[in-house]
Amino acid sequence: MTAAERITITLLWAVGALVFVMLYGPAFMVVVLSFFDISRDGIDWGSFGFQWYARLGDNPQMLAALGNTLLVGACAVVLATALALGLAYYMKTGIRRGRPLLEFVIFLPFVLPAIITGISLLVAFRELGLERSLITVTIGHVVLILAIIYRMVMIRLESLEDSQIEASLDLGANGWQTFLHVVLPQLRSALVTSGLLAFTLSFDETLVTFFLVGGEPTLPIRLWAMMRVGFTPEVNALVSIVLLVTITLAVLGAMSLKETMARR
């Protein structure tokens, strides 16, 4: 390496470090603020402590929103997983000419801007006479996360030997038994990984949810509403916990993704 190249690389690392500070700075700030009292004059640096974590219960609306988010996420992941499993298994068994078309449709909400997906669902629900509620939010999340789960399940299914399914059928199992006892056990890691990633996605989803939410807000929507008046310290505390949990989930998801890919 010449001196010029070494200097360039060092400079690039300096820029890179700055970028990482930019990426993590915002979240870091919220976490720091959650440990202090904030008054009109600014931050009271002497007030360090976990007092706001102890007072999380003072904000029942916030906790209700968190509960809604967890409920929506869990329902959406279960529904989307069932649907994705069915679709992927159907496409894998036998020659399906509709497969490219189906995959194109499933991937649409993933590629199109969230605002388009949100408006489409909003307009369709209104024409159907479906009131906005957590149910419409859940349907919206199913639409969004279907593609990820389908893709991950399909990758795993593609790596399975066809002979396994054929052998099972030859030995007298019907399609359902084959799926349950031969295919499903081998999909477990793919399902866990995609479920984790999908749940993280649903947990933070804001731009589609905004169009579909009714009287019961999810956490991001509630946070958005609170942002106009500024976050109170107990909101900072809750957000810090949420950040910790989602980042842990994402890391777990990424690690099991690496494993799933390695096992192929």
Binding site: E5, V19, F20, L87, P113, I119, T246
Partner: protein, 302 residues
Amino acid sequence: MTDLSLAASGADPAIAGARAPHRRWLRRTALRLAVYGVPALLILVPLATFLVYSFWTTVDGRVVQSFTLANYVDFLAKPVYRGVFTGTLWLASIVATTSLIFGYIIAYLVWRLEGRLRYFLLLLSVIPLAMNYIVKIYAMRNILGYNGSLNWLLVHAGLIEAPSKLFIFNQTAVMITMAVIYLPYAILPIFLSLERVSPSLLAASADLGGRPGQTFRNVVLPLSLPGSIVGALFVMVLALGDYLTPQMVGGNQGFTFGRAIWSQFGMAFNWPFGAALAVVLLLSVVLIILVAAAISRHARVK
């Protein structure tokens, strides 16, 4: 063994009788209907409804279901909307370009590393994707604001005398915030396109006497750039459709096309017009996707 499997398979035509093929046909059709019907119902039907909506109008706040091009004519006739549209395209291109530059730097640095550190830094660059979007906007607003950390830093460093209002509630604020929020979306695709550069080419370049800088300029960059641009275009799509970032940090000056669409579904309550604006957005996004697809196809042929 053979006897057993025959008996268990139940495929004994003598017992099943003549009704079996008919029932099987019925089952297969029902299955096919479900497989294609459910995604169509969840995704295609809403999209179609939304397209149809853009050709309707409102009279006194009520939707009138008669075909008209009035919404599109309105969009084209009003310079305000056209201005916001081109302004947002410009904004999204800047966000995409910054994410290309900084995303490439990060991805390249990580790509050069080996072993655990490489995996760790890659993870570190995608984790921000899992951080709550609203929280990121909120924190960015605190950083960029009049009493924010950026102003505090600049004043204490002696670069400016008094806190500046230049960083909040304008287009610059929207641009900076979007650049920070959407950068991680670019890093991963750029990293993957670097990964696709064949190691044998790098070895060949080194064998032929190419210094690292030359290898980068003549081998790595040309081969990884198409995939990186595709990643940046993905960021552009995200920036184009965002309506909450401009609303929260943009103030009155930071009005974007996404906000214009959103306001039609909120305060303005003109859904058909909002749908028509969204169709315009959809068309530009489709165009961007086609460009991205063309770039990746071209790169693969080479």
